[in-house]
Symmetry: C2
Subunit: 302 residues, 2 copies
């Protein structure tokens, strides 16, 4: 079952060098989520052939424009497309007022229901939970209230042991119980789950750490993650500027990835001052080799 | 002296087929103006290598999102670039509230002065006037208050007669008077302006007719224009839909161009339902042969 992130935008603040403001698509199994929605996100979705109608939940990390100026366009497009399914938007206080004001001036009453969930940035919040996954937010440290998002698969069902598949002539309900890890009786015989099935695939997790200064406390929220995205607006030569603007350097992002022991670190939110991104990657890799640039259009498996 | 319009976006409502929402750059001599600012306008400026800092005046026709959702991003980019010159935004009531709310949630106080000029859509308003040109707005007929913009050159100075250039040994002030059309005395001799100079180049004009249903009254505002842009959201087969949505068909745009007797008609604001635009062009050309598609990136001389 796929668990992937697709990068739609990787630049900070001012679009530059053909790079776009922040947006990512997270796919967990058959479910698609949009994380941040900078200006031009709907065009980026079209460019990378992701149907915009796949999303029922959009998550906004904070109210700097490069993370949400594309949202109203997407909301309006859904309306013009006569969307009927409700749309859930999870974001900071204030976002709904901005949406409503822009709908009001154009006399627009949406065809669909827009359900806004205010995210309290200073807390850990479970935003969405199913049998398959959970999505929660966690605080980061930026100039204005900002939160990251944690996407976690849940432990799935045990897998049928392929060596036993030819002998598997029980009813469906029995097999379902065995896959859940429960032993069963059938025709007077005890069927042990751990003989007929193998352990489930280990669940994975992905953390989108939003815009943040390097912040030790983050570790408690993203510990155990397989993949994290951590911003790397600047290189270490601009570390003072990073502190003033509450952003991080490539080296700091790498230090976080190393401390957590992730399998893969994605860095992004690059300053417009960098045309060539390879020096940022090199700086990060000096600290943590499993770093990759969050290049637009690339799909990373979690 | 150049008088040109560059198309940045030509699609209606939903971005589609690689086409962007409405935006145009009008250049009059050395002055650049932005007309409407749909989502992604700042990226389109970069794509067509027009420096975003050239603009001191931005004109917004109405508050449907496909005409202004890119404005806040541009305003924010100017801030991040530490722009110092004031920026004038001319648009409908309500636009300033939207801008201010989005600046407030990000705790942003702009580095530069943003001067908002409320345009009363139901009136003809002179928005900007210099010795070289005037820019005014005029009412069109759409679902919400909407206005077009008229860009007019003024009559320039007379040109020195090239046959006389070798005899032109007068002081600068005398030449300036002759170019203004004034006869002068110099060293006891009468210098007649119309002997030493030729008539000025005829002034040109361009009308951007915004989003509008076909509207006879428009003619009075745009009579005598050299070039007009008139929307052609639909083809004639969707003429009922055009009326319901207060838009025009390609045939109607052509009828307007023909009635005015323009040298060139540009059609745009194409519905997302049209992938191929050539049938719209063909429909218009049946009525008025001097029609061109407002293709993104193309520059039209006025």
């Amino acid at each position: 079952m796929p668990f992937e992130v697709t990068i739609l935008g990787n630049n900070s603040a001012i679009p530059a060098h053909g790079r776009h403001p922040t947006s990512q698509v997270v796919q967990i199994h058959e479910h698609f989520f949009l994380v941040d929605c900078g200006e031009g996100t709907q065009m980026q979705l079209a460019k990378y052939k992701i149907r915009k109608n796949k999303f029922d939940h959009i998550f906004i990390s904070h109210l700097h424009g490069d993370h949400y100026f594309g949202l109203i366009g997407l909301i309006t497009s859904y309306h013009l497309m006569h969307r009927e399914r409700p749309l859930h938007v999870h974001g900071p206080k204030g976002l709904l007022d901005i949406i409503n004001l822009q709908l009001a001036v154009s006399n627009t009453t949406l065809y669909y229901e827009l359900i806004f969930h205010e995210v309290k940035s200073e807390l850990v919040n479970v935003l969405l939970e199913t049998d398959e996954y959970s999505i929660s937010s966690f605080p980061v440290k930026h100039r204005i209230p900002t939160h990251g998002f944690l996407f976690k698969e849940k432990i799935g069902l045990r897998k049928i042991n392929p060596d036993k598949i030819s002998e598997l002539n029980f009813p469906f309900q029995i097999i379902a119980e065995l896959k859940k890890g429960n032993d069963c009786e059938w025709e007077g015989k005890l069927l042990k789950s751990n003989e007929w099935t193998l352990p489930p695939v280990a669940p994975h997790s992905y953390a989108f750490c939003a815009d943040t200064v390097y912040h030790e406390e983050l570790k408690q929220y993203i510990a155990g993650c397989d993949v994290i995205y951590h911003e790397a607006t600047f290189m270490e030569e601009s570390s003072e500027r990073a502190i003033i603007t509450f952003h991080s350097t490539a080296r700091q992002a790498a230090a976080m990835g190393k401390a957590i022991g992730v399998k893969k670190l994605l860095i992004g939110h690059f300053s417009a001052k960098y045309d060539n991104l390879l020096p940022l990657l090199a700086e990060a890799k000096e600290i943590f080799s499993e770093t990759e640039l969050a290049i637009e259009g690339q799909v990373f498996s979690i």
